[in-house]
């Protein structure tokens, strides 16, 4: 039972080659299965709303009290399972209220009318044309859709929070805690998030795909107007091109798609 080194290596080589041959057979069977689904295609739903550039107009004459604002924010929280954690340190904000001074920082006027100082300005993600968050995101979790909506892919978010640092509007929230225990009424049609994921307003892309307008727009009683900015016949475009609107921190050049109609109503 004496074999020399050369014989031993040769026999070992043959055994290895046989083992490799086996895996080729398995791979070939797998690729046949894959061919079965090659003919499948992906498409868009015919009932979905489409636009070249979605934009929102906030008509401040319709937001007179806290209740006007609450109706809007509650509709959003309910439909998107936004948790109410109860402290500002951990809070998750999709659409929230701020005062004039902070919403339009740098442009405040010392002798601004009292009503404006107290108005709850509705604030959300601005869905900028030049979104700094998209540039900052290293994984592509934040991305700009062709219709102008800056969307989040929560699956890809690694929680680095570069986007939060890049966003000049503080429109993004980080889940420091598991949000599920803090959701009062769960909407099973929309996923929740997990700890360590950044989230924000996404202009209700899931509702647009079904042909519905964003949830906040539906309950705003005309306070929020949503439409295609590139369409000259849309209500949004008509307001913006005929009335005086302002945008948040326009000097930064991010080109927000949320316009505030401040001169409407009695202030005209």
């Amino acid at each position: 039972m004496s074999i020399n080194r050369r014989q031993f290596l040769r026999r070992a080589g043959i055994v290895t080659a046989l083992g490799l041959g086996g895996s080729f057979v398995i791979n070939a069977a797998g690729s046949k299965l894959a061919e079965a689904a090659a003919e499948s295609t992906y498409g868009t739903s015919t009932q979905g709303l489409a636009a070249k550039h979605w934009a929102m107009v906030v008509d401040m004459s319709k937001f007179k009290s806290k209740d006007d604002f609450k109706r809007v924010s509650q509709a959003c929280d309910l439909i998107h399972n936004v948790p109410d954690i109860g402290n500002t340190k951990d809070e998750i904000k999709w659409i929230w209220e701020d005062d004039y001074e902070h919403t339009f920082s740098g442009g405040e006027n010392e002798y601004l009318t009292e009503s404006f100082k107290e108005l709850p300005f509705v604030v959300m993600c601005n869905h900028c044309e030049n979104p700094p968050c998209v540039k900052a995101c290293p994984t592509g979790a934040t991305f700009k859709r062709p219709d102008g909506i800056v969307d989040m892919d929560y699956h890809r978010c690694i929680g680095c929070r570069f986007c939060m640092g890049a966003c000049p509007f503080s429109a993004r929230s980080f889940n420091f805690r598991n949000p599920r225990p803090f959701i009062k009424e769960n909407n099973p049609d929309y996923p929740t998030r997990t700890q360590g994921v950044v989230e924000k307003c996404i202009f209700c892309v899931e509702r647009l795909a079904k042909g519905q307008k964003p949830a906040c727009v539906e309950v705003s009683k005309g306070g929020l107007i949503f439409g295609d900015l590139d369409d000259p016949n849309s209500e949004v475009r008509k307001i913006i091109s005929s009335k005086f609107t302002i945008r948040r921190k326009a000097e930064l050049g991010t080109q927000p798609s949320v316009y505030y109609l401040v001169g409407g109503g009695e202030h005209a």
Partner: protein
């Protein structure tokens, strides 16, 4: 061969040690994943998105493609190799592949878990479709830490 006897003997011991698990389990019946068929809800149209053989081997790839199409490309309709159209949604799968037995009253429920708030699926004894196979294959799935089950959605 120099010290040939010792080398060959050591090799035999090494190979025996390496293959011990195979010989140890030889002849023992492998039951396989349980509850697979009993966890498919029979509806008027029980045809799967793609043929079962394809789904068994490639459902993870298909789910990845669906995620890419829906979230990033805005495509919400999937036309399969037979020309049949499906809505791209986890609910499309779960409508059939869940007995709904795992629904609970806490709000967010998890077809793969039977419990809420935990991300551990492998330790689960759920009779649900996904978990029956995934426990067997020891592959942890994280879908249900965000998505909810259809029983809740249809309530």
């Amino acid at each position: 061969m120099y010290k040939g006897g010792k080398i060959i003997a050591s090799l035999i011991i090494f190979v025996a040690f390496l293959t011990f698990p195979f010989f140890y389990n030889m002849g023992k019946v492998n039951a396989g994943p349980e509850n697979l068929d009993s966890n498919i809800k029979l509806t008027a149209n029980t045809q799967c998105v793609e043929p079962a053989s394809f789904m068994r081997a490639n459902h993870m790839q298909l789910l990845n493609d669906w995620r890419q199409a829906y979230v990033r490309d805005g495509k919400t309709v999937y036309t399969n190799s037979q020309g049949k159209k499906f809505e791209i949604n986890l609910d499309t799968c779960i409508k059939c592949h869940s007995t709904g037995a795992a629904s609970n009253t806490a709000g967010v429920s998890n077809p793969a878990l039977n419990t809420t708030g935990s991300s551990k699926t492998l330790a689960s004894n759920s009779d649900q479709f996904c978990v029956s196979c995934h426990n067997y294959a020891s592959v942890e799935l994280t879908c249900w830490s965000c998505h909810s089950e259809p029983g809740g959605a249809t309530k």
